[in-house]
Amino acid sequence: MTDIALPAAVTEAAPAKAPAASLTTKIRRHRALAYLQVAPMALVFLVFFVVPLALTLIVSFWEYNEYEIIPAFTVQNYVDVFEGCLNTSDACTTVRTYLSTLKFCALTWACTLVIGFTVAYFVAFHVRSRTLQMALFLVCTIPFWTSNVIRMISWIPLLGRNGLVNDTLMRMGLIKSPIEGLLYSDFSVVLAFVHLNTVFMIVPIFNSMARIDRSLIEAAYDSGATGWQTLWNVVVPLAKPGIAIGSIFVVTLVMGDFVTVGVMGGQQIASVGKVIQVQMSALQLPAAAANAVVLLGAVMLMIVAMTRLIDLRKEL
């Protein structure tokens, strides 16, 4: 990271020896300007991203007690994270927690992908007027700008034991006693995740689809492809980058979540983020840091696979 700021100084300090090489000077100045322009961003990421992550890694190897962290090397925090994991008969806490989080991840990913793709496909290919397209796109994205917490809790009066859904179903005589699993369950957690995160699928997929040359579709139809064939062989491959970007967003959001699982799961469903948060609030920072490092590793593994598929910068 520092190697970004450093060359700037070097370039500036370098005396322009040959006056004849005015072009190189110009390029050099051009370059110096680039370093100057990018410096604020580099600085922000350095101070608030790179250093914090490095510290997290370092502190995860420190000791701690009830009220302070002690800079003495230990691997105990990691030992604690994986305590009992060698025991094959019963999954350990960490594995169980990750499995639970991964389950939410997979379910949410599948739901948001199907919904996001369908919605984007409809808006991109079936809505003919450009204005209407934009309007519908906005309709899908506006809730994204409003408070997540509010959107989450707005499910509670609907799903509770005596909530609107149960009441309606009972009044209609479809069920005799309220469905318990609507709230504080895996169902309500996934529902909230899908509700909150589908937009992250819609936007990049729509973006990819909007750039598909319409004549390709025409060509597919003209050469006798059915709607499904066109969808599967033309649209899906071309929308892949959008799908990948959306997937990365959804996966990371769900993996690191601790609020949604808490509120919608009645505080009794485990998630990796929640574990970290509990340890943070119990002031066990090194333990939390160790968990964070493990989480980071897991997320990175998942993402590397996805990023291999696309060059993000070209897709914008």
């Binding site: 990271m1 190697d3 970004i4 060359p7 051009h30 370059r31 680039a34 100057l36 990018v38 604020p40 961003m41 922000v44 990421f45 608030f48 991203f49 790179v50 250093v51 914090p52 992550l53 510290l55 997290t56 502190v59 369908t118 919605v119 290919f125 079936h126 309709v139 899908c140 506006i142 809730p143 700008w145 409003t146 408070s147 997540n148 917490v149 509010i150 809790i153 707005s154 609907l158 509770g160 909530g163 609107l164 589908t198 579709i217 709607g227 990371t252 690191g256 609020v259 509120v263 970290i276 948060q277 943070m280 920072l285 939390a288 840091a289 989480l295 980071l296 997320v299 993402i303 914008l316």
Partner: protein, 296 residues
């Protein structure tokens, strides 16, 4: 494609879309309705009369929670984040058009900042400031300097929380700038330069006006992302909470429809900001078009 008749697929998809919109807006509408509960009403249906009672209660203050203070803090922080995001992302975008050493690294970091789970970033920033505080405390004890003795924490709205928000808004800003510059025709700049404009003049009179609407977009992203940020702020906030943190606390501590009134209010506010941004963007575009006409 446009001259094809509507296929059955269209209707199926349209129905799906409609359902999705209901799913998206339904719950929010529920709390919108519930926020107009009568004074005797509870957190769930049925409605017990219709009133603006809970808005009144909200206005009078949520008992103990300084909700207006939190709102105000979030607004101010949002504005600062917005400004910084626009400026920093814009210049970084310019820099990325030229080549510079370390650009791949920086780009990777920017993307990483977006996809590293928020709780991890938040924890890291919290840790960083914790250690900084310890260092200051140590320095205070070592040196005995009076001005250091009073030191409490460096954590605060405009230090750690601002930083946490920027790690979230800047990558978005940068990606938008990439998208924008990818579509930006350098011919305009060259023309300006050929006419003898300096770099700064070109920027001021050519690049910024053309990119105006997109910059408004970046600003909108910056503000709303910051205004609703929760996970990254959670461990990196100083003494006073932002609105989303306060709201998260309230979800479990409020037992009256006031919380819905608050929800309706913040949603309304977010919508107003979007409206304002879209309006400005449209206005800029129209002005640009007009100017183009005049020139043409």
């Amino acid at each position: 494609m446009s001259d094809r008749p509507r296929s059955p697929a269209f209707y199926a998809l349209a129905a799906f879309f409609a359902l999705f919109v209901v799913f998206l807006y339904g719950p929010t509408l529920t709390i919108l309705v519930l926020s107009f509960q009568g004074p005797q009403g509870g957190l769930t249906f049925p409605m017990n009369g219709v009133s603006t009672h809970w808005f009144g209660k909200l206005w009078a203050g949520l008992g103990i929670v300084d909700i207006w203070g939190a709102l105000w803090r979030s607004l101010r922080l949002g504005l600062v984040v917005m400004l910084l995001t626009v400026v920093i992302a814009f210049f970084a975008g310019l820099a990325f058009r030229k080549r510079f050493r370390g650009e791949r690294a920086l780009f990777t970091i920017a993307v990483a900042s977006l996809i590293v789970p928020s709780i991890v970033v938040s924890l890291g920033i919290g840790l960083e400031f914790r250690l900084l505080d310890e260092a200051v405390k140590w320095a205070a004890a070592e040196t005995g300097w009076g001005w250091l003795q009073e030191h409490g924490t460096l954590m605060g709205l405009y230090t750690s929380a601002l930083g946490a928000h920027l790690t979230w808004t800047l990558p978005f800003g940068l990606l938008i700038m990439f998208a924008v510059f990818n579509r930006f025709d350098p011919a305009y700049e060259e023309a300006a330069r050929d006419l003898g404009a300096t770099g700064a003049q070109t920027l001021r009179h050519v690049v910024v006006p053309i990119l105006g609407p997109s910059l408004v977009g970046v600003a909108l992203f910056g503000f709303t992302l910051s205004f609703d940020e929760l996970a990254r702020t959670s461990q990196a906030i100083g003494g006073r909470n932002t609105l989303p943190l306060e709201l998260q606390g309230l979800t479990t501590t409020v037992t009256t429809p006031e919380i819905y009134a608050l929800g309706t209010l913040t949603t309304g506010m977010s919508l107003a900001v979007i409206g304002l941004a879209l309006g400005t963007s449209l206005y800029l575009q129209r002005r640009k078009a007009k100017a183009g006409l005049r020139l043409g």
